[in-house]
Symmetry: C2
Subunit: 558 residues, 2 copies
């Protein structure tokens, strides 16, 4: 069999003018700020005018732990959005923006795949509407103002060894991870060791994605802790007086981006924080706007449900007051096989035993999602190599867990392949059975919050943390940050902190290596393992073959 690639399908898309897509949602032309003919931002004024409308129903798409086999979480998010529209529901999709830098290392990707994609793919992998560039500028303006403050006399008495605000660039550039700046003499300032992270790792990104409006944005930016004095007094962004100018730099970036699926249904693509040191969800403002405009909003969370859904529930929904009505857990037969011990090269052969052996990974995610009070259905994202016996094995297992698994063929057939799931999601959401609440209350101590996630979601026996880490958590509680949720940064490949431990491990420990305060975003980052915040390029980066070909198409990016 030969299939068209995602980019071939995307290039054949019969896109409608973005003004028409907006019109379907009832957005007046004057409130849609076009970027070319296929992308637009929705004006803040229009968003403000929606405040009194009722909300649609929010559907979360999450997944099992990712494996090299691929799960198709975004593909299913897009497919379900198209499927809901197909069965007569007004549905809006909300997903994240892609980071530019990594596309020049490994090939960039579609938003979705097959016949369940969001377009324009090329722009979404390049500059798109400039949001990430605005975040880079806002972040680095603060950095420049900190060093400038020190240069001109340091009246805030910043301890130059305790500047915690680094710089960012949307590029995979390992040479910038660790630098000494301000060399070259008096005119260039005071030399100190610092470094760059990739833009998606910026706290400004997390803040933009959690802010409800420009006022909230500026307040949160002001709350960022940028440095400490010698006696450990925090210095805030507000003390540096950068919050106003940063807000000005971000005012357009705060407005959600509207694009469309291959089937001309509306999709908001907005924000893209790291899913480890941040919460990994699209922006609150896009989700809330979509809820005012659609009967259904389909969104996704980063990585597997242990990281992504947990943060979606405990950080995004908690902070934004969102109440998900139902959730979809994406799994594939192939991924079950890998969880059952099959190597990637052997995935083509039928192996029902391995599927059965891998299913407990899925089972644990089902019960985890249920523990937040949200009803869940499993979407089996269909691959051509799946056999009937393998599919039946997954279905039977899921039924034993008190849930249902539905085979979805949106990749091959678009919305026509996912009608059954769409109907199921509607019936779950309409049933009113969702009774969402975060897994821990605000008042719980920070360390107990970490333990709660580790034990109830990861099924670990214990959390291991040095005295200094526990003391730091205590200190933040005393400083008034005790009500913050915790943002867990661990490997996405396992429930444990060992990426090779597939399935549903028990008896493991969660070692906390470091904790960081994101005072503007409003969470405590808990780092369990090595977390890379500035990627490098591979030996033969994709950039080497990216070019505009004779037909004027971009080649090598996908």
């Amino acid at each position: 069999m030969s299939f068209k690639t995602d980019i071939e399908i995307a290039r054949e898309a019969k896109k409608k003018p973005i003004m028409e897509i907006g019109e379907k949602l009832g957005i007046p032309a004057a409130d849609l700020l076009p970027y070319g003919h296929d992308k637009a931002k929705v004006s803040q004024d229009f968003i403000t005018s929606l405040a009194d409308r009722p909300d649609g129903k929010l559907i979360l798409v999450t997944a099992i732990n990712p494996t090299p086999a691929g799960e198709g979480k975004t593909t299913t998010t897009v497919g379900l959005g198209d499927g809901l529209n197909r069965i007569g529901k007004k549905a809006v999709i909300c997903i994240r923006e892609a980071s530019l830098g990594p596309n020049f290392g490994m090939k960039g990707g579609a938003a979705g795949g097959g016949y369940a994609q969001v377009v324009p793919m090329e722009e979404m992998n390049l500059h798109f509407t400039g949001d990430f560039h605005a975040i880079t500028s806002a972040h680095n303006l603060l950095s420049a103002m900190i060093d400038n403050h020190i240069y001109w006399g340091n009246s805030l008495e910043i301890d130059q060894r305790r500047v915690v605000w680094r710089r960012v660039m949307d590029m995979n550039d390992r040479a910038l991870r660790d630098v000494v700046s301000s060399l070259g003499g008096v005119a260039n300032g005071f030399p100190r060791q610092t470094g760059f992270d990739i833009t998606v790792a910026s706290e400004v990104m997390a803040i933009l994605c959690l802010s409800k409006d420009l006022e909230d944005l500026q307040k949160r930016l002001g709350d960022i802790v940028v440095a400490y004095t010698r006696d450990r007094t925090p210095i805030y962004c507000r003390d540096i007086k950068a919050d106003g100018a940063m807000t000005v730099l971000l005012k357009d970036a705060m407005q959600p981006n509207l694009v469309q699926t291959l089937e001309n249904n509306p999709a908001f693509v907005h924000g893209g924080p790291f899913a480890n040191i941040a919460h990994g969800c699209n922006s609150v403002i896009a989700t809330k706007t979509a809820l005012k405009l659609g009967d259904y909003v389909v969104t996704e969370a980063g990585f597997g449900a242990d990281l992504g859904a947990e943060k979606f529930f405990d950080i995004k929904c908690r902070k934004a007051g969102l109440k998900p009505a139902a959730s979809v857990l994406v799994a594939t037969v192939r991924a079950m096989k890998m969880n059952g011990g099959v190597a990637k090269a052997d995935l083509g052969a039928e192996n029902v035993a391995a599927v059965k052996k891998g299913c407990p990974n899925l089972g644990r995610h089902i019960s985890n999602v249920k523990s937040f009070g949200v009803p869940v259905v499993v979407a089996i994202n269909h691959f051509h190599s799946d056999t009937d016996a393998e599919i039946e094995a997954v279905k039977a297992y899921v039924a034993e867990q008190g849930a249902e698994a539905i085979v979805c063929k949106h990749w091959a057939h678009g919305s026509a392949g996912i009608e059954e799931l769409a109907h199921k999601v509607v019936s779950m959401a309409e049933s009113g059975t969702s009774n969402f609440s975060p897994i821990y209350p605000d008042e719980m101590s920070l360390f107990e919050k970490i333990e709660t996630v580790a034990k109830r979601i990861y099924h670990a026996d214990e959390v291991i943390a040095d005295k200094s880490i526990r003391a730091q958590l205590k200190a933040w509680e005393e400083a008034g940050y005790g009500h913050f949720p915790v943002c867990m940064a661990k490997t996405q490949y396992s429930f444990s902190t060992d990426p090779n431990l597939r399935g549903a491990p028990t008896g493991h420990s969660v070692p906390v290596r470091e904790v960081r305060l994101s005072a503007g975003a409003g969470f405590i980052v808990v780092i369990c393992g090595e977390i890379m915040t500035m990627p490098g390029l591979p030996r033969a980066p994709a950039a080497e073959t990216i070019r505009i070909n004779e037909s004027g198409f971009v080649e090598g990016l996908f």
Copy 2:
């Protein structure tokens, strides 16, 4: 008297939808890529389709040496464009884009002033259509790929001490001028000393502004010399295989931006290279597109005519095959007085003697511009404090030089205040007297080119250069760069290299401190004095007061 500020006037502008402005120029809606409702890019396809049309007439607006009194070169460029439209000519304005970073140091500025402005002012001082961000990304992708090449085995044998390609950021950040990168151990590469320039100083900016299409752009990017081996063999961007991906990053940025004046006339605002280490003109592609669409194109060059017009003629026109039909030299009575020795505080009082004493600065610029074969008229940009006697003194002086000086009141009255100049420009252009040629031929040796500019334009006695600099120029000639023009980098405040030497000095020397090869842009930079390529922020940066106010307007940026 009380006047409205530029921003007050700009905010009262009755902007037309940008699609309407494009329509007036005959650009089909599908070929205008909107960015909001008041900015658009013109598609490359449309530009390509114009190839066989005849060109309109090109008018250069240049000025005397800048003084703290202000000359109003951009204001006059915009005013003249409006004036030509007023008298029934189809005129298009071409100016440069503003750099984002410096606006957070000192207050940003209008494009023009008073009733001769281009809008939207706010966006043009912020992210605009993202061109500079694209340039930053393309530049830094190459930087990352160079260090990545070294990291993965350095098969090109780059001498790490001889990497000449730095990084860029569109921010005033002195801490980045001089850094050591790749610290932190094996995983982060090989430590080396490097630094950041501001984006407008990037050779990528100069290249984008001189390229005629995407193919030419990629060829020029490939030509950039990024490093040398131990035996001084140059390593090109093409060797690093970054040219294709950089072109992809720049494909939208290459398309000119269309905006409008307060009088709803079309203006292309595109590109903005440094006017010292680069040529300081808007893009060739914008100018050429405008020439296909308008009967008249009014454009400007950076700084005074000694730097700006010289580079416009010797670099931009030479390379792009442009033939200016006439030029306008902007002067003010106030600036003449400062050239005549009056301090800024005393500019309010009539002082005919000082005006007369300062006029030789203007006189020399007149004869310099004429020496390129281009007819010239002087525009006296009128200030309310100018007295009749002072104006008459300037007019009389200019008449003695065989030229005409016309008082222009576009700042206060828009196009109605500049009709006389518009008629004069038309009669000069229609007369066919322009007989443009660059001041030196391609074949002249590089050092003789420097001498030609120094002697014929700056009226210096001699050029002083170390043996090592002369040897470097010779080496470049042998390497095949001898046909390049020279790009002089010296103070803009004087014909000499001493910024305090006003008027029309003679008998001075031009010391060449350093020469640099811009192999992609296609010129040799000749540095005469201190040139700063990464500005710093002042003690109280404008950013501290920039914010969105209660009415939703940006405050403090202007």
